[in-house]
Symmetry: C2
Subunit: 337 residues, 2 copies
């Protein structure tokens, strides 16, 4: 399949135009376009222009309010709640991020809940900005039900990613991981189906609860958590933090409402930010952590999470990125070209 080369400026420009044309406000389109451009910059295709159609569909189907204006609630000295007003999560997160950072610096630790939001971006994007500002950050977001409980047979938890970001000194980008609670990404199963390949064992069960390597049976059944019951516990924790605390909808509640088209459900999200300079370790915390990273990297075969993203980030501003011809066609259509 032929691919089309774009500069990052072109990615941003097209994303913005397409989103606005779909009925998303200028302010929200700017944020969402930045999410997609950042993803493409970092070689994270699955959250790049690939999502354009989904963003536009959500708005045009009336499920998500593209013109929503987030409302901030100062719930407590250490807590901020951002009501996304049934829009996408990214504009709400950006609307609250500076307040969250200020609270974390003032209180030492602070949390931000995002409610009534459709989270459709990479979770690492949300913690990245906090870590770039020198804060340690954790993020939790749920999705509609895809993953079985420990010992269970049906879809119950979302794929429920959890992200963690640790700032690094001397202008280095933060150490960030962003990992789902499921053994594999749902998209990976869809790719296996498209390519007619069997799944690795341990990814999924069929509708009867039996282990399966058949992508079709896996999509009809349930994905498995990573690492057995321990991963299932993480998936449950993410539901409780992202939804239980914030008043959103659990994955199974969205599912029960018939929301099964694969787009983002209206769940919940929690971000926690900690100022490492306020602890006793003081300014030494970041320097000390570098010793851990050095120790990890001193062994052959190891690397830090997010390294691949940063390798791409070093190249794409000059080299640009490529997208499949078919996606380019879609984007042009969405932009009305």
């Amino acid at each position: 399949m032929s691919r089309v080369r774009l500069t990052l400026a072109e990615v941003r420009d097209r994303a913005t135009r397409g989103l606005v044309r779909a009925g998303i406000s200028d302010e929200n389109a700017a944020v969402i376009a930045d999410v997609m451009t950042t993803a493409e910059r970092d070689g994270c295709e699955s959250h790049g222009l690939f999502r354009m159609q989904g963003y536009c569909d959500c708005v045009q189907a009336g499920r998500t309010d593209g013109k929503a204006v987030p409302v901030l609630h100062d719930d407590a000295p250490g807590l901020l709640r951002v009501d996304a007003m049934h829009g996408f999560a990214a504009p709400a997160m950006i609307a609250g991020r500076q307040v969250l950072a200020d609270k974390a610096r003032e209180q030492g630790i602070a949390a931000m809940a995002v409610t009534n939001a459709h989270h459709y971006a990479a979770l690492w994007y949300d913690v990245d900005g906090l870590a770039e500002a020198g804060l340690v950050a954790m993020g939790f977001v749920n999705s509609q039900s895809f993953v079985a409980a420990a010992g269970g047979k049906r879809k119950l938890y979302g794929t429920n990613p959890m992200a963690f970001a640790w700032p690094r000194p001397d202008g280095q980008p933060p150490m960030i991981f962003d990992q789902s609670s499921s053994a594999s990404a749902r998209g990976e199963i869809q790719i296996h189906r498209r390519e007619g390949r069997s799944l690795p064992e341990g990814w999924a069960i069929d509708p009867d609860g039996n282990p399966t390597t058949d992508p079709e049976a896996a999509l009809a059944g349930a994905q498995l958590p990573f690492g057995g019951y321990k991963g299932a516990a993480i998936a449950m924790m993410v539901e409780l933090l992202a939804v239980g605390l914030t008043g959103g909808k659990f994955g199974f509640e969205s599912h029960a409402e018939g929301h099964t088209d694969g787009g983002p459900s209206e769940g919940g999200q929690l971000l926690i930010a900690i100022d490492p300079a306020r602890f006793g370790g003081g300014d030494g915390a970041l320097a000390h952590a570098e010793l851990l990273f050095q120790e990890i990297l001193s062994e052959e075969g190891t690397r830090l999470p997010s390294t691949r993203r940063y390798e791409m980030r070093a190249r794409t501003p000059t080299e640009g990125i490529t997208i499949p011809q078919s996606l380019d066609d879609t984007i042009r259509e969405l932009c009305g070209e």
Copy 2:
């Protein structure tokens, strides 16, 4: 092997007497005896009287100060740091817990670092008291190095447990999980060695980094994280939160100091407490979470974490507990009987 039956009052009495006789202060002995009694009450033998010898050895070898008086530092409105003054972690945690709870209620979220401490108790004990007080709690503690990094071959991370507690309404005990970042507990490998059994695959690698099912080779080599690279990321996060933030010692740093006798290293610990009533979800948060628990339990074959502990807890106050004759002999000796 014959077993000896004890009431919980006898457990507490013997634990207290033995600890004091080993040179631990009355105040600290009361806390540590409560840790062991609570563990025995909940059927958690590995953190019960089984640990007596270890506590006493640590103090008598001069590695841990049994008479340490914890010092509280009010680092920020949302942060408390408790210096355990080279004593055990449990007395420091108890010394700070009420302040942490007060801060969480006032700020919405708060964190407590425990430093210069030897953590030798079950982590669920630390979050249990917070959840019993109505708070959502997370706990992170590192240990000396036993677990390989993702792609690595040597011991680098501790077994690094992470605990999460969610309070439940109507007098129900909290939902708590407390799980190590390793595929198995180290003690499980030692039990396999003692019984001459092979290990399940995926637990460990030998000193050359090859997968092994031989307990001896596993103990000389490194344990593997649970769930592959995702579990390794959790292990790294625990080191960063428990040590990086608090100024303690990473597992590999304790290891490099020749601390390899299996007792607790002087690492670090972080507890985070959140008041669910301060979020927008308000009082509804706990009731809403019950719907998630119901959904989980509506499937055959599922259960909530900590259920087994609570089943034991219902029985042991009347039935008492049993310990092996050999452990009873050890305890009597430590008590000077």
